[in-house]
């Protein structure tokens, strides 16, 4: 019986008997496992910046050593009370100053075209910014958004995302907000969110989305995925203005798209891996012709 044990585990370490190999191949398991391994082996994480990491480590080490060295000098000064009091007063003033300064400063995070960025807020809520987007905040649970981002909000006080076309309010949930041009599109992945726009209000629960076009809120829709598609390198649109779809293409690939102004809408998706396929995925169903420059930096689209 023990020779059946941990079969897949031993498959990885190449620790199988010829009979076991044959059996795995015959049952189709081999192929299934191999296809999983093939994809997983291509997964990578961003490179860790070791030089920077080590610098940071040295800095915080020096800082903490300086702190432990301090008490010696402090002991000598202890008898002169004035300096101590003055010192304390100065630090209090400094702290008040720092508090006022920090309170009024806004944090701004932006992504250039062709890049995305994850940002962790002080309450451990996370924001995943899509290409060419930005957030600004003073208080960390009130965020101004330009563009598109996924929010994964920790439970607690109300959390609001303010966009030019409306406000999204939540208690603790994850959702994607896309606010480009005159459009606001919100998808909710867990919990509940309330979307406010032009006096209209709607509450979304898991798997529901709403689209606001030119200030008009449309019917709620259902969707099937469990996370924002752009985080899996796909941009998906439901009856979206074709011009804004092309702008998204520009942002994702950091390219220039030259096209006439369309008055049509596009439903479908494009991937973020190959510019050729992406352009094809947009142009083919719309019956458009296109030309991609040799350096792949610009695309010209014609009817």
């Amino acid at each position: 019986m023990s020779n059946k044990e941990n079969l897949y585990g031993r498959w990885i370490s190449g620790d199988l008997s010829p009979e076991e190999i044959q059996a795995l191949k015959a049952s189709g398991e081999w192929e299934e496992l191999q296809s999983i391994i093939d994809v997983a082996d291509n997964f990578t994480l961003p490179t860790y910046n070791k030089a920077k990491g080590f610098e940071q480590l040295k800095r915080s080490r020096n800082a903490s050593q300086a702190k432990t060295a301090e008490p010696k000098t402090e002991a000598k000064v202890r008898s002169i009370n004035y300096t101590r009091i003055l010192g304390i007063a100065a630090s209090i003033l400094f702290l008040i100053g720092a508090f006022i300064f920090l309170r009024s400063s806004e944090t701004m995070i932006a992504t250039p075209n062709g890049e995305t960025k994850a940002h962790v807020l002080a309450d451990r809520s996370t924001v995943l910014l899509n290409a060419g987007s930005s957030i600004e905040y003073e208080k960390f649970r009130t965020i101004k958004l330009t563009g598109e981002a996924v929010f994964d909000v920790e439970k607690g006080a109300p959390f609001s995302v303010i966009t030019k076309n409306g406000t999204v309010e939540v208690l603790g949930t994850s959702f994607n907000v896309r606010a480009w041009g005159d459009n606001l599109y919100v998808e909710c992945y867990s919990g509940k969110v309330k979307v406010n726009s032009g006096g209209n209000e709607t509450i979304l629960t898991k798997g529901q989305a709403v689209n606001v076009v030119n200030g008009r809120m449309q019917e709620r829709q259902e969707f099937g995925h469990t996370q924002a598609l752009w985080t899996s390198d796909v941009s998906m649109f439901h009856a979206e203005d074709l011009n804004s779809v092309l702008q998204e293409l520009e942002r994702q690939y950091n390219i220039k798209v030259t096209a006439p102004v369309f008055s049509r809408s596009f439903s479908g998706s494009f991937g973020h891996q190959s510019i050729l396929n992406a352009v094809e995925q947009i142009c083919k169903p719309m019956g458009l012709t296109y030309k991609i420059s040799d350096d792949k930096k610009s695309v010209t689209i014609t009817e």
């Binding site: 941990n6 079969l7 897949y8 585990g9 031993r10 498959w11 990885i12 370490s13 398991e29 299934e32 496992l33 296809s35 999983i36 391994i37 994809v39 997983a40 082996d41 291509n42 997964f43 990578t44 994480l45 961003p46 490179t47 860790y48 070791k50 990491g53 080590f54 940071q56 480590l57 915080s60 080490r61 903490s64 994850a118 940002h119 962790v120 996370t126 994964d152 469990t226 996370q227 985080t231 899996s232 390198d233 796909v234 998706s269 991937g271 891996q273 190959s274 050729l276 396929n277 094809e280 995925q281």
Partner: protein, 169 residues
């Protein structure tokens, strides 16, 4: 031979260069949070430096994983993990493949990411250390303080679970 002393900056830096990325990855597999993982790498190496006189070079790596693990437990209440990966070598041939095929590939990658994220933590970590950090069972066992057999078993269970994504189509 005199064992190398990790209190010396040169030695310590070597340890950092060899281990920091793996440790960061390990913490990411645990938490699904890259920023947190990188913070904890700092904390763990900070602790190692503080205690450098008590830890031999040999013991440093399992020490780092243990410390990182403890720091993580202190910091996080348990939360659902969502892992994201980049595709290492975007197939240079993509231009000749149909959009449908590529979409299917993307769909599969997404499902696999989801399935990996949903694995029990101990299986997930072993699977990813083996596949992404390309570590042998023996190395994983050493770092996590497990037997090689236990690592093999976790890998087996992980694959058993992941194989199910083929049936969900």
């Amino acid at each position: 031979m005199i064992p190398e002393n990790i209190c010396e900056e040169k030695v310590f830096e070597t340890v950092f260069n060899e281990r920091s990325e793996q440790l960061r990855n390990f913490l990411y597999y645990k938490s699904g949070n890259l920023a947190l993982a990188e913070d904890l790498v700092q904390d763990a190496f900070g602790k190692l430096w503080e205690n450098c006189s008590k830890v031999t070079l040999e013991k440093a790596k399992s020490y780092l994983f243990t410390i990182a693990n403890n720091l993580f437990l202190n910091k996080m209440e348990h939360k659902k993990v969502v892992l994201k990966f980049q595709a290492a070598s975007p197939n240079t041939d993509t231009d000749h493949q149909s959009p449908e095929y590529l979409l299917e590939q993307e769909e599969f990658k997404k499902r696999l990411e989801g399935a990996i994220s949903s694995l029990p933590e101990d299986q997930r970590i072993v699977f990813l250390m083996n596949r992404i950090d390309k570590k042998k069972y023996r190395e994983i066992a050493e770092e996590l303080g497990l037997s090689v057999k236990a690592v093999e078993k976790r890998m087996h269970k992980a694959l058993q679970e992941l194989r199910k994504i083929h049936k969900k189509v």
